[in-house]
Symmetry: C2
Subunit: 223 residues, 2 copies
Amino acid sequence: MTQRIPIVENILSANDQMAQKNLEIFDHAGVFAINIMASPGAGKTTFIIKTLEALQRRLRMGVIEGDLATSIDAEKAAAAGLPAVQINTGGECHLDAVMIARAIPSLPLTELDLVIVENVGNLVCPANFKIGTHINILIASTPEGDDKPYKYPGMYRGIQALIINKIDLLPYVSFDMDYFRRGVEVLNPGVVTFPLSAKTGEGMDAWADWLVNIVKSRKPAEA
Amino acid sequence: MTQRIPIVENILSANDQMAQKNLEIFDHAGVFAINIMASPGAGKTTFIIKTLEALQRRLRMGVIEGDLATSIDAEKAAAAGLPAVQINTGGECHLDAVMIARAIPSLPLTELDLVIVENVGNLVCPANFKIGTHINILIASTPEGDDKPYKYPGMYRGIQALIINKIDLLPYVSFDMDYFRRGVEVLNPGVVTFPLSAKTGEGMDAWADWLVNIVKSRKPAEA
């Protein structure tokens, strides 16, 4: 009789356990955490900076930036005067729960309401690794094309909110919004969707209000 | 004394061996093979279709399409009347040499001059897996932003030609060509670069001529 050695399963399960721990740490500190995923160049960093600007009087925020090698993104967040931690994955194609666990102690959690995690730019791998945030958010962008839900289904299945960024480019690119939304609907029926342009600011209010609402609804009412 | 077990090294080396075999099969058939990599939505499929159109009277071509799940891309190539094979990776984030070895028998190699492989849309993982083509080509696109060489260095290091696609969108996006090119130059000095728009056709001739030239220069002169 040969013995079955389910290595992949164990690795994922160890990651999931660590993700659960991270979530407990965020919960204990009263912090809501979101994981932002996207293709390279969908506009994650600009979107996050604009979100920080929109919410700076309404929420206390911190940022965890994931990149292969540089600290460009964390520097941009820090320039906005916010606590920011950079994770350099050393070439790894996704963030995992261990990386987040190591980053958390560098943030003043008890002084924060919201932590935004920017994952590595990749429309495949990050979907397979929980990191311990409360929700997953995907940023699609119009120049990427309207067929991405059909071609990268795993990413669209595991999210709780979808941003459609760069709507200011709609006149210049081939992007059939109906075709795109039909693909999303099959994979993730009813997922809340925010078409917007982080660059021009159009549509950012609806997103910011939704986020504030979800963060505040989880907090005990202030006396 | 503990024993060192270099598992990752062995996996890569098995893949490299298979890649070498694929290359020998292409060489034996007199076929030049290129591996096209890019972010999701950089325009790989449109670029390939336009390349096929531009070269249809000059080269005999076939296509291997890599996708997570669908056969959308292979159908587009087949619609252009060319031999096309679809590899569905089943969620894997890159093509590997074994997948290519399995796809090769579906192409009429001895009747072809050029095989174009479209890798999975991913700016990280495909760079780590040789598949057995003669050259690697990266398609960057202007809406992705000018910082991608700095943030995804591995991909820019391992290529022999760089396409800068969607130059028709330059008036509408923030893309500093000099900053982009400086980043590329550090990672891959002197790499041949083709700024173009697969959509409008601008710049496609220079790329097509370069490709024909490289393919023909490797063939024995016809008697």
